[in-house]
Symmetry: C2
Subunit: 140 residues, 2 copies
DNA sequence: CGGAATCCCAGGAGATACTG
DNA sequence: CAGTATCTCCTGGGATTCCG
């Protein structure tokens, strides 16, 4: 089996965590893995797409458009592993597999929405900041 | 100049956005870039670290511990480009550069904290879900 | 001190082909 | 249909070195 994306952030060659000196870093260390999944392009797309009910593999693949079946599989595995998504196999022929947000997954939608609202609210600000930055850079 | 991490998510070989069929995907497309920066390991660390006031380059490097100067530079550039962080050069000898959260950057702390709180609140749930998942997998 | 430039490699991710 | 298995290409990112 290929190495599953484990979302466990641990700097390679890093000392022991329990001996961690930085206070905020400790809390950060808990948050980082979650952010990493949430921040992931495909995982987010999937959660969004599953927001309005369960979908089967091929439905997801078609809905998300641009995702390869490989990344869909891997991302779903990651979300399933994190307990965000449940996977239900119906062993008919041909087989049918449905994915659905778990309670945990659904509870995630709220804070993510908060962040999404922030993003939408400030997207213009960010865009223009980027433009200004790029212009100054081009001038140089 | 090396290609700056532009945080602009656009599937390669993707059709035109304006013709996009999916409604929620459109909003998602705005949110994704932001999430991608927010979800970024180092960028988050930096924002966290800058939460309590401005810091200079070497302070950040020491505070974050594990980051390479390359990634620190690149991440700071990204944050600066997005208007989250301001960069102030004091041309003394030796030179001194201070980084500070902008208003935009500070406003980001709140929704991020919401997400962080969610993460902390559910981290046990996630961890145990991961353990269960891994055990079932080992059994197979 | 704060970077920029270069080298280099492991891991991320697409395309394709095969299977239960 | 819903994956798994390869193969391959490409980028992210560490280490190191040089510059103002």
């Amino acid at each position: 089996m290929e190495q599953l994306q484990d979302s466990t952030i641990l700097s390679p060659g890093h000392k022991d965590v329990t001996a961690g000196p930085c206070l905020q870093t400790a809390g950060c260390r808990n948050v980082a893995p979650v952010l990493n999944r949430v921040g992931d392009k495909w995982s987010m797309m999937i959660v969004m797409t599953l927001s309005d009910g369960s979908k089967r593999f091929s439905e997801l693949k078609r809905a998300i458009d641009g995702i390869s079946q490989r990344m869909l599989t891997l991302s779903l595995r990651g979300l399933e592993r994190d307990g965000m998504v449940s996977r239900t196999v119906t062993p008919t022929i041909p087989p049918r597999v449905d994915y659905e947000l778990t309670e945990l997954g659904r509870s995630l939608r709220e804070p993510v929405k908060a962040l999404g609202d922030w993003a939408i609210k400030h997207i213009d600000c960010i865009r223009s900041a980027q433009r200004r930055f790029d212009e100054r850079e081009d001038a140089a």
